[in-house]
Symmetry: C2
Subunit: 348 residues, 2 copies
DNA sequence: GTGAAAGCGCTAACAC
DNA sequence: GTGTTAGCGCTTTCAC
């Protein structure tokens, strides 16, 4: 330690002063050490601190893709809370690659971060390893069935159910379902909610109203969802008649649908109602503003951080599972219609 | 080292095997070490590696706000390139706080990251310290005048000049300028480009066509820009007559303007042309699709990474300054008008 | 009150 | 070919 030499004291004293240990050190020495450390622009070497058994104040945050506005928001919210609690967030995108997610996880545990907040795209693949980690891990956003640690997810099933019911209550019967490939548990649940809401209201599920994109998703998700929305809206318009409403599995795909519809002079919500999921910032910026089911990022981020902080404090405490309730944000893309008045388009 | 004991060899041998040093080790021993290391699920302690003088493969990326779609895109692009080159990106948001930016910078240098890619919001404040860093730092996105290291920025002045000229060439004369507070060098340059383009085309700058928001920006930037756009469009509509065109200093504020205009039945581009800056993904998703000046994030990210990687390879090489050329993305919000035909609105 | 010294896990120089 | 050992910078116990 250079400071020790320069100030002519022992390294022990330097350590005691700089770490503010409540250890008896004469004012004179203390002052000298501080003076020298400032003069030398001293920064402790975190590696040797950690080697010596120090604890990290970093928190890893892993999400599928940071360029997706929903995750950008979720990460930003989480980041802010970490910072406020003097943790340093380390943000990682898995880009839908289990391999990359694994790498990140390994990197984070190697660093012995204080904790990990993870939206996994590969639950089955990692669930067994999670508990063996040295750093506590809370799962958020995506469903986490079978995980025994802390977790917090949306109630996707309920989201799907609520959105569909909401449309039905507004008089819609022919409700289309539009989605990218249903390859995630979250999507499966929304779809299930959709089907069961229809069933519970005595509406027969018709496969002709289910539009699921075929392609994979290794490109940028946001653009792809948008394009899927545009495309699927196109095939939807080719049907002999229009549905009453469309349930789009996320806001971006909904905005894609709006775009094609507007182009083809189909008025929303006059000719067709539309509801999305997520409530990303842009949903309120499009015209007409999109009615959607909010998956509150602030709530998710807040709860995830709280669970993690609590666990860091008390590693022995019982695991907690939280479900965030969906909330319908009523804006301008769903209109009330009278179920008796069957609207027909001018298509053959 | 547990492995050494377990396999009954020295730690040196273990290190040699596990690091694949081209050091003579008998196959038998090598196999035994590998077998044990796998059985014990061994992970090297990166702290002691670093302590011993190892080099980090992490790269710090600092931007103002990750929830801003432009920066989300820029970060995602940068992240991907880092990953592809086996660097681990560490993403930090400064949230427009010089204090926080400083903290991040300090954290990154403490970790002795391989390099830093920085969009600084506090150039003056940090420029002197940058060169004393142990990790090389390339500045991107924001102007970096006075910095002697590598840097890469947009030609904001040219952007502003080009956009304004483009509008003028399309027959517009009364061109409004709409912006959040002009508190950043980038914005000052765009504004300057606007003014000088007007001047060079013999159009007098009229302060009544300059709309600059008053408020600060410690909230979420994206929402705030949008709201500013809405508000300023409102005051713009209260003027006795409409301008021919509006130059909005970023896409989000442009989308805010579109929103108010659509609400008030002002048709874009028939009644008013509009051009933005950035070319965020959403600009092509709104209706009508926004004409804008692209600040290519892929180009910026690519160049920034290249400069940094080069410097890591060769710390002595000369500093490089790159300016990314703006590019007008023609979509549907600017129409050509004949300069002679003075359009008047029906307002008094 | 202060200092000396051990040791965290690893790598590399040196011995054998 | 393989083992021994010093030392990276820090914290902490123990001795003075």
């Amino acid at each position: 330690m250079d400071i020790a030499k320069e100030a002519k004291v022992s390294t022990a004293t330097v350590s005691r002063v700089l770490n503010n240990l409540d250890y008896p050190v004469t004012e004179a020495l203390r002052k000298r050490v501080i003076e020298v450390s400032e003069r030398l622009d001293y920064h402790p070497n975190i590696f040797s601190q950690m080697l010596k058994g120090g604890t990290s104040n970093e928190i890893g945050i892993i999400v599928p893709s940071i360029s997706n506005p929903f995750y950008a928001q979720l990460v930003a919210d989480t980041e802010r809370i970490c910072l406020k609690n003097s943790y340093i967030p380390i943000i990682c995108s898995s880009y839908n690659s289990p391999q990359l997610e694994n790498n990140h996880l390994e990197m984070l545990t190697n660093k012995q971060v204080a904790g990990i907040i993870l939206s996994t795209i590969n639950l089955e693949g990692i669930i067994s390893r999670l508990s063996s980690f040295l750093s506590p891990c809370v799962l958020f956003d995506q469903p986490s069935e079978g995980y025994h640690g802390d977790s917090i997810t949306f109630d996707f099933y309920k989201s799907g159910y609520m959105a569909t019911s909401y449309l039905i209550e507004n008089g819609h019967r022919r409700i289309a379902f539009v989605s990218p490939p249903i390859d995630r548990t979250s999507r499966r649940y929304i779809y299930k909610g959709y089907r069961e809401a229809l069933r519970d209201h005595g509406i027969r599920l018709s496969s002709k109203w289910v539009f699921v994109a075929a392609n994979g998703q290794h490109q940028e998700m946001e653009t792809q969802d948008y394009q899927n929305g545009r495309l699927l809206a196109g095939t939807l318009l080719n049907a002999p008649y229009l549905p009453d409403a469309v349930l789009a599995i996320n806001d971006i795909i909904a905005i894609g649908i709006m775009s094609t519809l507007t182009e083809r002079n189909v008025q929303i919500p006059n000719d067709l109602s539309l509801i999305g999921f997520d409530d990303i910032a842009f949903s309120s910026m499009v015209t007409p503003a999109l009615t959607t089911v909010r998956q509150s990022t602030t709530q998710t981020a807040g709860t995830a951080c709280k669970l993690l902080f609590d666990r860091i404090q008390n590693p022995q405490k019982e695991a907690v599972h939280v479900k965030i309730e969906p909330e319908i944000i009523v804006r301008s893309t769903v209109r009330k219609i009278h179920p008796k008045v069957k609207k027909q388009t001018d298509k053959p």
